[in-house]
Symmetry: D2
Subunit: 368 residues, 4 copies
C-alpha cells in the first residue's frame, strides 16, 4: 500500500536502494508448475544492464539474479519467488557533494520533504537502478504468457533528443546499443558524442508492443487494461507521456476514420492500440512513451540547499546521458507485468478461457 507492490494478483514487491547491499523483489501469485531458473531471467537483465556501451552509465554491475525461494526441482511451486540482485559497484562518495543540495529535475527535494530523511547515495530508492527487479519479474511474466498464450513483447526507440528514428525493422533492434530499429546508427552515435562533450543529456521516445494477446483482458470500469498500462509506464523513471494506439493524433481525427473497422478477417487498422473499452481486442498492444532528459548532468544548475539557501549543482557520478536508451527492456517488462496480472484477473472472474487472437469470428462465450 506504500506503493512498492506492482499488480493485484501477480504481485511484485520491490525492495532495495541504489547503494545498499542488494536489491530485489518478491513475486507472489505466480502459477505453479512452470519451469523456471535464473537462465530465464538473466537475458532481460543483461539487456538493461549498465556499463555495456559508452552511451550508458559506466557503473559496472553484473546484475546476477538469484532465485531465493518459490522454485523446487526447477519448477515454480505457487509460493513467493524472491529474486535477489547484489549491488557490487557502489561509489557512494561520488554523492558527498549533494547531500545537502537538491538537484533540479531529481527526486531529492520531494523525498526529503515526504520522508524527512533522504538517502543521497545514487538517489537511494529513487534511482532507476530499482528497475532491475522489475525487469527480472517481467521475465517471469513473459515466460508464462508465452507458454500459455504465445504472447511476445518487443520495443524500440523511435526518437532520441531531436532525432526521429524511422522504423526499418525489428531485426535491427538487438544490433545497436540504442534499441533503434535502423541499420545505421551513426547519426545517433554522433549526436550522443556531442551531448556527452557538453556534459548534457537528452530525452527519448519509445514504442513498446505485445503480440498474440488474448481477447478479453482488462477490468473496467477503472482498472482498464490501458489505464493499468498508463500507470505502469508513467511510473517508469523519467516518463512524462504515454500513448495507446493513435494517442495524441486521435485529437485531430474524426469518428468516421478513427474507429478500426471489423471484418471477418480481422480489424482494419489498429488506432485503438489493441484496447477497446479497456479490454484487449486481440490485436497488438501498442504503447508509446516520452522520456525526459537525464537530470544528472555536468552542466551547472541553480538550486537550493536543505536550509533553503541558493547554490549551484553539478552532478558528478556515473550517469546515463539518455535514460531512455536502457528503458526499452524495462517498458517491455512493465507491459508483461500488466498483461500477466490481467490474465490472472480475467481467469478469476471468467474462468480459464482464452480467446486466441486471429481472424475475427464467432467465439465461445465465457463460462462464468
Amino acid at each position: 500500500m506504500s506503493g512498492n507492490t506492482f499488480g493485484t494478483l501477480f504481485c511484485v514487491t520491490n525492495f532495495g536502494e541504489s547503494h545498499g547491499p542488494a536489491i530485489g523483489c518478491v513475486i507472489d501469485g505466480c502459477p505453479p508448475g512452470m519451469p523456471l531458473s535464473e537462465a530465464d531471467i538473466q537475458p532481460d537483465l543483461d539487456r538493461r544492464r549498465p556499463g555495456t556501451s559508452k552511451f550508458v552509465t559506466q557503473r559496472n554491475e553484473p546484475d546476477q539474479v538469484q532465485i531465493l525461494s518459490g522454485v523446487y526441482q526447477g519448477k515454480t511451486t505457487g509460493t513467493p519467488i524472491c529474486l535477489l540482485i547484489h549491488n557490487t559497484d557502489q561509489r557512494s562518495k561520488d554523492y558527498g557533494d549533494i547531500v545537502q543540495t537538491f538537484r533540479p529535475g531529481h527526486a531529492d527535494y520531494t523525498y526529503w520533504h515526504k520522508y524527512g530523511i533522504r538517502d543521497p547515495r545514487g538517489g537511494g530508492r529513487s534511482s532507476a537502478r530499482l528497475t532491475a527487479p522489475t525487469v527480472a519479474a517481467g521475465a517471469v511474466a513473459k515466460k508464462w504468457l508465452k507458454e500459455k498464450y504465445g504472447t511476445t513483447f518487443r520495443g524500440c526507440m523511435t526518437a532520441i533528443g531531436q532525432i526521429d528514428i524511422p522504423f526499418e525493422s525489428w531485426d535491427h533492434v538487438p544490433n545497436n546499443p540504442f534499441f533503434a530499429p535502423v541499420a545505421d546508427v551513426s547519426a545517433l552515435e554522433a549526436y550522443m558524442a556531442e551531448l556527452r562533450k557538453r556534459g548534457d543529456s537528452c530525452g527519448a521516445r519509445l514504442r513498446v508492443t505485445a503480440q498474440n494477446v488474448p481477447v478479453g483482458l482488462g477490468q473496467p470500469l477503472y482498472d482498464k487494461l490501458d489505464a493499468d498500462i498508463a500507470y505502469a509506464m508513467m511510473g517508469l523513471n523519467a516518463v512524462k507521456g504515454v500513448e495507446i494506439g493513435a494517442g495524441f493524433a486521435s485529437v485531430a481525427d474524426t469518428g468516421s476514420t478513427h474507429g478500426d473497422a471489423l471484418t471477418p478477417q480481422g480489424f482494419v487498422g489498429n488506432k485503438a492500440g489493441g484496447v477497446l473499452g479497456g479490454i484487449s481486442t486481440g490485436q497488438d498492444i501498442e504503447v508509446t512513451l516520452a522520456i525526459k532528459p537525464t537530470s544528472s548532468i555536468l552542466v551547472p544548475r541553480p538550486s537550493i540547499d536543505t536550509q533553503g539557501q541558493p547554490t549551484e549543482v553539478i552532478t558528478k557520478g556515473r550517469h546515463d546521458p539518455c535514460v531512455g536508451i536502457r528503458a526499452t527492456p524495462i517498458a517491455e517488462a512493465l507491459l508483461a507485468l500488466v498483461l500477466m496480472d490481467h490474465a490472472l484477473r480475467h481467469r478469476a472472474q471468467c474462468g480459464d478461457v482464452a480467446v486466441a487472437p486471429g481472424p475475427i469470428a464467432a467465439s465461445a462465450p465465457c463460462n462464468g
Copy 2:
C-alpha cells in the same frame, strides 16, 4: 478487484448501467466530521450533465444525486457514503439494431468476448454515463482537499478536432459549452455544426490542473503520483494519451534546460508538471489528455455481427459529437480522487503533516 473501485484509502466503488434503474457509487474512507450535503455535489454533476447545449447528447438526465448513507446531521460520519443517481430518460429501443452487431471503436466486441454476455442498451456498463458517479465522488474529494489544504482544480479544452484553442483566461471557461478558455467560440461552434451535419464526430485535447497541492504526495516505487494520475486519466472513456508537465515535448529537450531550477522563491518553470520522483513538489499539477472521436456516429461503417458475418453499422441514439466536451469536469474529478487518495496514504505513513506549497524554504521533516 474486478476494477470497479477507484483508490486504495479513499475508495470509490462504482455501479450501474446506462439504461438500468440507477447508477451510483459507494465512497469508503472519507474522513469523518466534514459538512456534506447534496448541494456540495450537484454543481459538478450539472457541469457534466447531458442535454445542456446543442453540442452534446440530447439525452435529458437531471442527474439528481441522493446521499443514501454516511452523513448524519449534515456531517460525514466516517462510514460509507452511498451516492445514488436515478436514470430517467432511457430509450433502450434505440439500440435494437445493434444487439447482434459490433460497433467499430466501441467496447461491444470486447465486452461480448470477455463476459460472454453484453448489455447493448446505451453501451450498458461501458457507457460514459458511468462517469457521473465518478464526478459525484470527486466533488466530495474536492471539498475535503479544499478545506484541508486549499487545493483547487480546474480544466479546459485546448484543442477540438483540428482546431487548437489558445489559452486566454480561465475566466472564459464557464461561459461557453466547450470549457474553452477563450472569449469567442464561434469558430468552435461552426466546426461542430459542420461535423454534426455530416453525422461525424471529432476528438479533443484537455488540460487539467490542481493548485495548492501539498508537497510530498505520492508513493514510489510504483504508485507514484504521476503513475496514478495516468491510470486515472487513461481509464476515462475515449482517452488515448496522457502527459504530465512537458509531456512529449520532453523528448527533444536537454537536461540543461529541462529540469526546473530551484530558488528560495520557488521553482523556475514547471516542466515537471508538479511531480518529481513520483512525489508532488507543491507546484501546480499539470495534466494533458488526448480524447478520441466519439465512436457512435451516423456515418455507416463496415463491421461484423456476433456470428462473424460482415455487416454495416450506423449508430443512432443520442450521442455526443465530441465526448471531449463534457470530459473536463470528469478529468478534474479524477485528479481530485487521485490527490485525495494520496493525501490519506501520505498521512497513514508519515503523519498528519502537510508542507504548504509556496516559496521554497527549509521545512520541518516528517515525524514518522
Copy 3:
C-alpha cells in the same frame, strides 16, 4: 480499505445505517452468465428478518431486496451488482435518551472516540441490521458455489445461554425460531420467556458447516482458509470466539489421536474441520461460534456520558433478547463469502480445476 469491503476477488462493499433511508451492498467480481433474480436472495433475508417470532426484535422490516445493477435479462453480466434494501420501520426517537450516554457492551464509546461523531439511531452503522446486506451477498455466493461445485451450507444453534442443545437432526432447524436441531424447543422457549421477563439477555453458541467443498481452497501463508473464516466470523456482531474443527478441545489432545488418518475411502474423522495447512481438504468445513449476550437490555447499568460523568443506562427500543438466534443465516452467508472468494483466488492462480470431494485417490495436479 476502511473496512467496509469483504473479500478480495468477490468483493462485497456494505453501506448504510440502521435508521437511514436504505442499506445495501455492491458485489464486484461475480462471474458473468449466472441466472440471478431477487427470488434467489430473498429467502435467506427472510430467514434473518426481524419480527418473525416473539424471541427476536419486534422491529418489522420486510427487508425486500432490489437488484439495481449487474443483471441483464436475468443473468449476471460480470459488472457490479448493487443490492438495495429500504429501511421502513425506524423509530429513532427511541434513542433520544442515549445520545449523550455510552451503553455498556456497545460500540457507542468506541465509535464516538474513533470518529468524533456518532449516530445514536439504533446504533447507526454498528447495528446488527447491517448484516442484512451480507446475507444478501452470501445468497449470491451460495448460488454460484452450488451450481459450480454442489457446495451447500447449513448452520444451527448448539447452546443458548446456559442450555446446551443436543444435535438431533438438521431437519428440525427450519421448524423452530431458534435454528435448533431438536424437535422439542419448549425448554428454550421457557428460558427465553423468563429472560424477557427480567429484561435481560443471553449468549449463544452456533455451528456452521459447508458440504461438498472443493479440495485446494485457501491461500497460505497468511490468507489461509481458516484464517479468513475466523476473520469473517469474529467480525460478526457480538461474536467472541471461533473454532475450526476440534477447536479448543485440541489442546488436551495428542498427535497420535488428533490428526485425521487418511484412507483410500477418505479421511477418518474431521478434527481438522476441513482445513489442513490453511487449505480445504474436501471434507466438510466445520465452524463453531460463541456469541455474547445482547447489550441492549432493560436492566439498568452504570455508565458515563460524553462529558465523562457517571450515569445509569436502560436501553429501550426493540432488541433481540439473544442476538445469536438470528445469527445462523448470517454465519452461513459469511462462510459462503469466504469460500466464494477463495474459489476465485484459487482459479486465478491455479486455473479452473476443481478436485471434487469424495473418496481420496490420486488426482490430476493443478495445471498452473
Copy 4:
C-alpha cells in the same frame, strides 16, 4: 493476493521455504525516521528460535536477521525493509521417506492437490519455520507502537496438553522454556518427558495481550480489530480456536453481567477483551488461542500415498513435541502487526490523533 502478505498499510510480504537457502520478508509502509537495527529484532527471534531447550526441535538455526534495505544511517527511510534470515541447518534427507506419502494432520495432502507440486523438505512453505519472518516484522511493529503510544505486548502458556497452568506472574514467563507464568514447571517437564518417550505430541493454550492500546483502532464493518486479530491468530500454524476477552464463556453469560460497566475511573472488568464494536476501547487486548498437537510424530499412523494406496507413516526428522511452546512470541508478533496496521489505517482516515488509554473522560473528537 496469493496470501503471503499480511496487513494493508503496514504490509509484510513473507517468502522462503523451510529448507531453501533463506527465508525473510519485506515490510512496506513503515513510517520513516524510526531508529532501527538488527539489535531491535534479534531478541524476539531468539525467543522463538529452535534448539534452545530439550522441549523443542533440535534443529539448530541461529536465525540471524539481516536488514537488506529501508534503513539508512540507522533510521527507517519509509521505503521497503527487507529482512533476510539464512537457513543453515537443513537436513532434507530426513524427508526422503515421505515424498510420496501424506502425513495425517499435515498440509501435505492439500498442498499437493492445490499446487500439483509439493516441496517435502521440512514441509517446504507450510513449515512453522516461516513464522520467523513474521516475528522479525512484528519486532519492528512493536518498536514503533511502543515509541508512539507506549504499547507493549506479552503472552504466556495457560495449558499444555491436559495440564492447566494457573497464572502466577508475568515475571516467571521468561524464566522457563514453556513461557509459563508459574515458578515451578517441573510438572510440565515431566509431562513432556513422558510424551517424548512415547513419540507423541500434545496441544497447548496461550494467552496474548497488549497494554496501552490507543482508543479507536479498528475499521468496521468487516475489518474490525477483533476480526483481524482472529484472522492473524487462526492463520498461525496449528491454531484451531481463538477467543477475544470472555470468549466461549460469553455464551452462558447474561447481558446484565457481561457488558463491562463504564465509570469515570475506567471500565469495570474486561469481558470485551479490549474491543467494542470492532474498535479498541483502550483496555488491554486479551486473546486466547488453542493450538493442536504437533502432527509430526514417531507413532505410526495410517495414511495413503500419492497414488491413493494405503500406507503407514512415521515422521522422523527433528520436531517440536508441542508446537505451542514456541508460539508465544509469534502470537505477540501477530498481535503487534494487527495493531500497527490499524494504527496506520486509523491515522489515514481520522488523522494523527491518539486517545491515550487511562481513566475514561471526555476526549477531544477526531479531527477528520
